[in-house]
């Protein structure tokens, strides 16, 4: 960080004054103006759709996502599905939601297959750092949790889904603990609750800055002890239907043997996660490599309507330097403990505990207006004044609570307890997704969806800690509903996919192949054998 010496001095020089000064708050109108001017969702690099259930709406989608939604099947046009596997329930996805659903189905007597593109656990869940929200604090309630999340989501949330989310918080924490998750506790043995951005009370439970890892490794361990059959390294290429609109299976790509596998299932659950690896507008991402909007792409071909699928969360604190860490997450919990966001001039320009979309917009404004810090590689960001944590909470506090931060930064010779780190918003979360009802049913009978792949519960901006709760609560809910309402077995055809293909041929001749499956940077050759 030798190049930044004089700039860091400005941060150090203003630290003492900033320490006691109140955080600069924005009014609702100022926040809205910031969003409209600087938030990437408003950048105009969008287009409307001309094929499928969201065609003709006055909604505009990021181009990269629109191209996937209107993509052509990877399967050959004359593909004839014959069942290689017959199962009761097929779960697509390998993250927290898929695993929670699998656990909910254990003991039901049903056969369950879980197919995932990577390995079980390789997901955005495992990368979540800051925590999981649940109304467990003094004076807190699921209503307060609801009110915070509804305001944070700009009132665009599906209030029925959000009520379920908030009410399920305490029970889900109880379940996770019974399953084997260790959350941080205070000295008197109670759960330690952190304040999340946009929350009115401390409500975030954590396991240091490895909360998602803790939840995912426990869920995975538990799933491996069930009778669920795992099909790893097997991305779904297409959903299958019975010719009458019911989803009845899926075509997988068994990558180890390079062949397609057709699964006939009485129920299919899409728990395929988000889309950060589409790298909208060239942004970095905090997402795992599988986050390529596969579930949205496949469900859309089955006539499933998408809600707020044009709304993305750019997490305010993505790493901006060193370049090898670009886009990786710096948890919000560090801000919640008092690390301020500071511009090139050493000014604390906005409260770091405002809503994520507002804070990201404020950071982008600073950079666009020349008050950001330009790094030797050309990228720009603002400071996150991490040394404040030890000043406020005692020497060693940063390292004790955020070991992951040190594990990532120290190899580059940066000690975040001594030096501030550079951040810039990173593509973090797909706020919207597939429309579901309160039982996680999609518009297509036979197809359920849960977790980040779905839309509605978070409105157009999600609060910290609500996604880990979402994946466990709705994953389990989907599993339980499937268990109790299992459809009969139906034939498998590519009828819906074929119809979508014909419509594409008429209206969008230049369609790319989809789903993307892997980030472009990986240069994966998708050439499937028989």
């Amino acid at each position: 960080m030798e190049w930044a010496k004089s700039l860091i001095k400005k941060v150090e020089d203003t630290r003492q004054t900033r320490l006691t000064a109140p955080a600069p708050e924005l009014s609702a109108d100022e926040s809205q103006a910031l969003l409209e001017k600087y938030h990437p969702d408003y950048s105009g690099q969008t287009r409307s759709l001309c094929v499928g259930p969201n065609a003709g709406d006055d909604e505009f989608f990021p181009q990269e996502l629109a191209d996937m939604l209107e993509s052509a099947s990877i399967l050959p046009a004359d593909f004839q599905p014959t069942p290689d596997i017959e199962t009761d329930v097929l779960i697509l996805g390998g993250g927290g939601s898929a695993a929670s659903a699998a656990l909910a189905l254990e003991g039901s007597g049903l056969t369950v297959h879980l197919a995932t593109k990577l390995r079980l656990g390789d997901s955005n869940t495992v990368m979540a750092e800051g925590g999981i929200q649940s109304a467990l604090g003094h004076d807190d309630s699921p209503r307060r949790h609801f009110a915070d999340s509804f305001v944070g989501g700009h009132g665009a949330n599906d209030s029925g889904l959000l009520k379920i989310l908030c009410e399920s918080g305490p029970n889900e924490i109880q379940r996770l603990t019974e399953l084997g998750c260790l959350f941080d506790r205070t000295e008197d043995g109670r759960f330690r609750l952190r304040l999340g951005g946009g929350a009115s009370l401390p409500r975030v439970l954590a396991c240091r800055d490895y909360t998602g890892l803790e939840i995912m490794r426990v869920l995975r361990d538990a799933v491996r002890l069930t009778s669920v059959t795992l099909l790893e390294e097997s991305p779904a290429l297409e959903l299958l239907d019975d010719g009458e609109g019911n989803v009845s299976g899926a075509v997988l790509w068994d990558r180890k043997n390079n062949k397609t596998v057709c699964v006939s299932a009485r129920a299919v659950l899409l728990a395929t996660g988000g889309a950060g690896q589409l790298r909208l507008q060239g942004f970095g991402t905090s997402n795992h490599i599988g986050a390529t909007a596969d579930g949205l792409t496949l469900a859309y071909r089955q006539n499933c309507r998408l809600v707020h699928a044009n709304s993305f969360q750019y997490h305010p604190s993505g790493a901006c330097y060193p370049p090898a860490l670009a886009g990786r997450l710096v948890t919000e919990a560090i801000r919640s403990l008092g690390a301020q966001v500071v511009n090139r001039e050493g000014r604390h320009f906005v409260s770091e505990m405002t809503f994520r979309d507002v804070l990201s917009s404020a950071i982008i404004r600073e950079v666009k207006e020349g008050r950001g810090v330009e790094t030797p590689t050309g990228s720009s960001g603002v400071w996150l004044d991490t040394p404040l944590i030890d000043i406020k909470h005692g020497p060693g506090a940063l390292r004790q609570q955020f070991p992951g931060l040190f594990h990532r930064w120290e190899p580059f010779g940066i000690d975040p307890s001594k030096l501030p780190i550079l951040i810039f918003p990173t593509l973090h979360y797909q706020n919207g997704g597939i429309r579901i009802n309160e039982f996680c049913q999609t518009d297509a009978p036979g197809l359920w969806a849960s977790g980040e792949a779905t839309g509605g519960v978070h409105g157009t901006n999600r609060l910290m800690g609500n996604s880990l709760l979402d994946v466990v609560a709705f994953g389990r809910r989907a599993g339980e509903h499937i268990r109790d309402h299992l459809p009969s077995r139906k034939p498998i055809t590519t009828n819906n996919a074929d119809r979508f293909r014909s419509e594409l041929n008429i209206k969008r001749s230049n369609a790319v192949k989809g789903p993307l499956l892997f980030p472009k940077a990986m240069n994966v050759n998708i050439n499937i054998g028989d």
Partner: protein, 209 residues
């Protein structure tokens, strides 16, 4: 392989068009998929185990992908102790204290010391040791005595959590009529009214102004 400097091994392998050769999951240091064995130019005899997504490329380094497949876990216990751990994992006492497991851990966990703590029943400390474990499996793969440090670490953590869950119950909702009244307030009216009510309620925790 010729690649740009300043990038991680994973990105280097991708950019060379060889992504099939490296198992990758999160590309963020927490999933444990992309473990590799590395030899540096200046120390050719010494093998380093690291995560390809966290390690930068260096001139002249030799890299071999070294993923470790998982093994089936053992059901955790609600009565964790050195004895119940021994029952679950009978190889615990085969450890010869060679310390190879500590050397290969990409997360810097004091693995062998933690095995000693397992043998002594200091399970709270064991749980702390494995807080950052990503279950890449390297400590298990290198152990010639078939000790399974990371799966035992998981067993200890899960078992302790299960035990604690029996001792602390999460408080469940209080006053049902108050809850009902608050929900009615937050959910009534059009979206604009709901938003106003939520804004008001989150500030005071009370219904109405």
């Amino acid at each position: 392989m010729q690649v740009d400097s300043g990038i991680t091994l994973v990105h280097a392998i991708w950019s060379a068009g060889r992504s099939e050769e490296i198992l990758t999951g999160c590309d963020g240091g927490v999933c444990g998929a992309c473990t590799v064995s590395i030899q540096l130019k200046e120390k050719p005899g010494k093998t380093i185990i690291d995560l390809a997504c966290c390690r930068l490329v260096e001139e002249g380094m030799t890299v071999f992908p070294y993923p470790v497949p998982p093994v089936p876990p053992v059901q955790p216990s609600s009565e964790p102790s050195a004895d119940t751990l021994r029952k679950a994992y009978p190889t615990l006492d085969r450890c010869t204290k060679c310390d190879a497991c500590t050397t290969v851990c990409p997360m810097g966990i004091p693995v062998m010391e933690s095995i000693k703590r397992m043998q002594a029943g200091a399970l709270e400390e064991v749980a702390e040791d494995y807080t950052t474990c990503i279950h890449c499996g390297q400590c298990r793969a290198i152990c010639e005595d078939r000790v399974q440090p990371h799966t035992m670490g998981m067993w200890v953590r899960r078992s302790l959590a299960i035990k604690s869950s029996a001792e602390t119950t999460v408080p469940v909702d209080e006053d049902a009529s108050r809850a009902e009244q608050e929900w009615a307030y937050l959910l009534s009216g059009d979206r604009k009214t709901q938003l106003q009510h939520c804004q008001q309620f989150r500030q005071t925790g009370k219904v109405g102004i």
